[in-house]
Symmetry: C2
Subunit: 349 residues, 2 copies
């Protein structure tokens, strides 16, 4: 009995079954399924009713075959040469091979993160004919936000990637930066042990939403759980090495009680080498973001005590699956694509 039941439940209804159940022809079912005009409201309802009753779900493989559909996706990423981005690009190339069997093609398009106008222009030029979806990593500006909206209206799947845009709280791929900051704080508190003192916070710029959120989460957790620690105001390097050196040195001198340093930017290399050149002792706890060859090595060498990371491979594959899900109008399981905040220590690299 069990077997028969299973066998039955494993036969998926087809459009033919639908037609029979709704008492219409396959042509009409087709019109309803693909939203074509010229069907009476009443008939549409009958078909939809049948869909529900039979639990019909269109056979995507067959549909894609019929349409010889291809999924062309574009990753619009900042130019920059930091190691985290390099990783992302590399993972995209790897993902290509994995998703080849699903008829997915990915391309990387470099955009100028500091020129919202050019980004918007680029996005506006994309047509649904050429591109099925775009994953966009860009700081939030009204122009970019609008360009994304227009893309979606034109039928192109658009997904904020790693950097979030306020508009879409659910529909984006990346970690919860506030929680990431809080995690950094907790790790900091625990590594510092009972010691009392200040914590230096280094960022590239506090303009971006990501940095702001990390900072908020960091402060919340420090205040909540480690009142004996004092988080200093953020130092902004603006990606300038000389500036970074001078402000970090000054900050160190001004706060001799520093027990920890939190490097908030995604590129930890420069701040850390500056710290090293300034002979900051290992007893001062150092926590950074993102797994890169550099941070991995630093963890091993104990130049870093902890790293808060998001897996680049997972980010990329998640973005692809999400884009594909949008294009296919598939139900996606929210929890499936939650990007985890990883804590890297020496042992779990």
């Amino acid at each position: 009995m069990n077997k028969t039941m299973l066998a039955n439940s494993m036969i998926r209804p087809t459009t033919k079954d639908l037609a029979k159940a709704a008492g219409v022809s396959r042509a009409t079912v087709d019109r309803v399924l693909n939203g074509r005009e010229g069907v009476k409201k009443d008939t549409v309802d009958r078909v939809n009713q049948a869909i529900k009753e039979l639990g019909f779900e269109r056979n995507l493989q067959a549909a894609n075959l019929a349409k010889s559909r291809q999924y062309r996706f574009i990753f619009a990423l900042p130019r920059s040469g930091d190691q985290f981005l390099d990783q992302i690009v590399q993972r995209i190339a790897e993902a290509q091979a994995v998703f080849f069997a699903d008829h997915v093609w990915c391309e990387v398009q470099h955009i100028d993160e500091n020129d919202p106008h050019s980004i918007s222009a680029y996005l506006s030029a994309l047509s649904e004919k050429d591109v099925a979806g775009v994953a966009i990593m860009s700081p939030e500006t009204p122009q970019v936000r609008d360009a994304i909206r227009r893309l979606q209206e034109r039928g192109v799947a658009a997904l904020p990637f790693i950097s979030n845009q306020t508009m879409m709280d659910a529909d984006w791929v990346g970690i919860d930066n506030r929680a990431a900051g809080a995690t950094a704080a907790l790790l900091m508190g625990q590594c510092v042990g009972g010691r009392k003192g200040s914590v230096m916070v280094i960022s590239e710029s506090m303009q971006s939403r990501d940095s702001l959120e990390r900072r908020l989460g960091f402060d919340d957790e420090i205040n909540d759980s480690f009142p004996h620690l004092h988080a200093l105001p953020s130092l902004e390097t603006y990606g300038n090495e000389d500036r970074a050196l001078s402000i970090i040195a000054a900050n160190l001198k001004a706060n001799p009680d520093i027990v920890g340093i939190y490097v908030m930017a995604s590129e930890a290399r420069k701040p850390l080498s500056i710290l090293q050149s300034l002979n900051v002792p290992p007893s001062i706890i150092k926590i950074a973001h993102e797994r890169t060859p550099f941070t991995e090595q630093a963890l091993r060498d104990r130049r870093l005590d902890g790293v808060i990371a998001q897996d680049p491979g997972h980010l990329v594959r998640s973005a692809i699956r999400r884009l594909k899900g949008i294009v296919d109008r598939r139900q996606t399981l929210g929890s499936q694509e939650n990007i985890r905040i990883e804590i890297l220590l020496r042992t779990n690299i």
Copy 2:
């Protein structure tokens, strides 16, 4: 130019193209692709050559459509009622919905983890006709190991799940338990701070490979990095509450210098409630495994300081993708399906 290039590279060669390129008929191509007999070695080579040259990869959607293929997978899991397993079962149900569009059906089959004979008998009864693949969570025994091998020989994809079998170092789904143990140790060391003392280690049984590996990793890291800590011999509860209470109490009394407790088993509930009933102070660091409603709450209440976890949803989906990959003879990206060792603290639950 860019566009044309892309358009060309985006047309996948078909068996027809293959036939033309190899100078044979589609029938012969078919014989080669599907390993049928009666083709001259020479011809086979020519076809394979063409496959390489064209970069041919069979269109899985079309093939599955033609065969009206369904993927029926079975998760063979221990009966038990622990929360971690409950989560797994729940995730399987969720995954069903997500993978429905891929024609994947999953079933949970409860097995008796303590009866290798019955497990082996169950696996032996599975035929390639009914089942495309099985994910097996079972402690390692020669009988189970052999049954898995025979399954594979019969053409059923078989994948050790969460509990590893020595035989397959690469082909299984779960975390690296040795690294997990080491991570627990490192977390322990950091939370304990500079304090000196002993660490209690509680397990259900040291018979299983998983426990052994965790213990090895734990000891390695403690010895390496925290010489001021002393890891006590493992306490084995054998799942018996009375026994657990008495040995834990005795262990606490015998070692007044205990500064940390490592609960190695996947079910932390009972050991922890025993510890609570024994009034173990919060200053003693407690680390356990697996994210469950219980451990989440315990982290929030600060009854637990850290949890080493593997994401059940990811485990399940990874197993399904792996099984499907095996059945489809697809290339799988190793790194894609690496299960991460997650560190859960209060902030990143």
